[in-house]
Symmetry: C2
Subunit: 296 residues, 2 copies
C-alpha cells in the first residue's frame, strides 16, 4: 500500500511535490490553533497499518514541536505503522557541548525528545560540529543527505562563467567540491590579521576572474554576517556582483533584505526551509527514505 | 537547605513574591533566544542536591514547552534534586476526548510530556471536565488548589453591596460558594429557549438588586463571549455596570478590550497568568507545595 505523507503547517509545497515524486498519498490532517493558542489536531485519512511520513522543517523550532508531537501521537493512536520524519532543516545542532559552566546541551535534549516521536529521521546537511554523527544524540535511525550535487548542477545550468568563492580557509574543502562538480574554478579569500580588530582581506588572482560571476556558497544563511562581509570584500576588489547560494534559508530577522542590499546579484537557496529565494529542489534526496520506510 | 525557585520567562513577578513568602533562593538562569529562534539556556546557580522549583504558567503553551523542558533537563544534569513545577495555569485541558473520529486527545499527550520533566506539579483550578482528576493523565504527583476563597475575600474588601451573578444554572454551585464566603447574595440568570437562535434571558429579582454592584465570576476568561453577553443582559435589565472577575486571564486576541468596551465597571483577575488586570494574589496557595517538595 502507498505510504501517506503528512505536511506540518508550512510544509505543504514540499509535501505535494514529494507525494508526486514517490507516488504517495497526501495525508489529510487538520492542524490549527484555538483562540487561546492551543493546537487542535485531527487526522482525517485512514492511517491504520499504513506507513506514515511527516514532513516538518525544524527552523524556528520552539513553536513547531508540540504540533509535530501531537500529530505523531495521534497517528500512533489511530494505528499508523510509523511516523518517520522528513526534517530538511534540523534545529538545535549548535549547542553541542557546555561552552560555559551551567549551560544546557540542547542538541542532546532536543534529539532525545524528537527520538520519542519520530521512528526515523532524514535531514539535509545538518550542522554537525562536535557530534561526529547524529547517531550520537538521536536514538532512532537517522539519515543525512547532501545538497552539494544539486547546487553544482544549478550553478552549471544557470551561471555563465562562474568562479566559486570561499570566505576563508575553513570553507576550502566544501567550496572545492562544489566547484569541481560544477566544472568551475574557485578562489579562497586570504586574511591577514594585523591586530585584534584589524584584518585585511585580499582576493587572490582577482585579475584572472574580473569577468567571472563570483558565487558564494554556505550551508546555513542565518544572520548572513559572513556573506555580507564577503560580498563587501569582492566589491572592493573590483569583482562583479556575486550570486549567494545557501542550503538552508534561515534568514534571521531582516537578514535577507540586508544581504540583498549588500550588493548581491541574486540570492538562491535550496527548498529545505520555505522561502521566496528557494530555487534548488531537493525532492530526489528523500525518495529512497520514503519508499523504504518499511524497515522502520 | 533553602529550595531554589526559577522563573521561566514572564513569570518573574510571581517568582520573586513566592521566594519572599517561602524564604527560598531565586534561581539564576539565562534563558534567551538566538537570532534564528532557538533557545539558549544556562543555569548560574549551584543546584547540586538542591530542591528546585520551576515557575511557568502554561497559557500559550506551544512556544513555552521547549524552554521549560530544557531548563528542567539542564538542572537534572547539574545534579538538582527535583524539578517541581508551579504552573498556575495549566494548558491542554479542553481536548479530553475524541469528539470527532481522528482527533488527537491532546490533554493526554501534553500531560505525558510534562510528566517527563516535572517531578511534581501544582496548579490552580484546572479545567477538569471528563477527566475526573489530573492523576488520570499525569503520571507524576499533582496538586490542585482553588482560588475561590481569595476571590471571596477580594469581593468583601473591595466591593460595596455586591450581588454575585451566575450566567446560567451550570454556574450555580460555584457562584453560590463564592457568594456565601463573601457574605453576599447571588442570582442566576434565567434562560427561556424559544427556538434554535431565540433565547430570552431574564434577571430575577432585578428590583431588589438595582443598587447593588453585580459581580460576574468565571474560571477562565478566554474569548470572553459569555461574560460580554451576560454584561449585556444586566445592562438591558437596568442594573449597574458589573465587576468581572476571572481566575485565569487568558484573554484571547482582543478579548480584554472588548470586555472593557461591553460596559464593565472593572475587570479583575488572579495572578495565575501575568496581565494588567491581576489584582488577586494567590501566592499563599503554593507555599506548602514549595516547602514540602522533599517528598517528591
Amino acid at each position: 500500500m502507498k505510504p501517506i505523507i503528512f505536511a506540518l503547517p508550512g510544509n505543504e509545497t514540499l509535501t505535494d511535490s514529494l507525494a508526486q515524486s514517490v507516488d504517495a498519498e497526501i495525508g489529510q490532517a487538520e492542524i490549527r490553533s484555538f483562540p487561546d493558542g492551543e493546537t487542535y489536531i485531527r487526522v482525517a485519512s485512514d492511517v491504520k497499518n499504513r506507513r506514515c511520513i511527516l514532513v516538518c522543517s525544524l527552523d524556528r523550532p520552539d513553536s513547531k514541536l508540540l504540533p509535530l508531537y501531537f500529530l505523531s501521537q495521534t497517528i500512533k493512536n489511530l494505528g499508523g505503522r510509523c511516523t518517520c520524519l522528513v526534517a530538511p532543516y534540523l534545529a538545535y545542532m549548535r549547542q553541542d557541548k557546555q561552552f560555559k559552566p551551567g549551560e544546557g546541551v540542547t542538541s542532546k535534549y532536543f534529539a532525545a525528545l524528537v527520538s520519542q516521536f519520530a521512528r526515523s529521521l532524514i535531514t539535509v546537511d545538518p550542522h554537525l560540529h562536535r557530534h561526529p554523527s547524529l547517531a550520537e544524540i538521536y536514538s532512532v535511525p537517522t539519515e543525512i543527505v547532501h545538497a552539494a550535487a544539486h547546487i553544482s548542477n544549478w550553478i552549471k545550468s544557470n551561471i555563465d562563467q562562474p568562479v566559486l568563492i570561499g570566505p576563508d580557509s575553513e570553507s576550502e574543502q566544501w567550496v572545492a567540491e562544489v566547484a569541481r562538480d560544477a566544472g568551475a574554478p574557485f578562489i579562497i579569500l586570504e586574511k591577514t590579521r594585523r591586530g585584534d580588530r584589524d584584518v585585511e582581506v585580499s582576493v587572490p588572482q582577482v585579475e584572472t576572474y574580473k569577468d567571472h560571476t563570483p558565487v558564494l556558497v554556505d550551508d546555513i544563511i542565518s544572520t548572513a554576517r559572513t556573506m555580507i562581509e564577503t560580498v563587501g570584500h569582492l566589491e572592493r576588489a573590483g569583482m562583479k556582483a556575486p550570486v549567494c547560494i545557501g542550503v538552508h534559508a534561515v534568514f534571521a530577522g531582516d537578514a535577507y533584505n540586508e544581504l540583498q542590499d549588500a550588493g548581491t546579484k541574486q540570492i538562491v537557496t535550496c527548498n529545505t526551509i520555505p522561502h521566496p529565494s528557494n530555487q534548488i529542489g531537493l525532492e530526489k534526496l528523500y525518495v529512497d527514505f520514503i519508499q523504504n520506510t518499511n524497515f522502520y
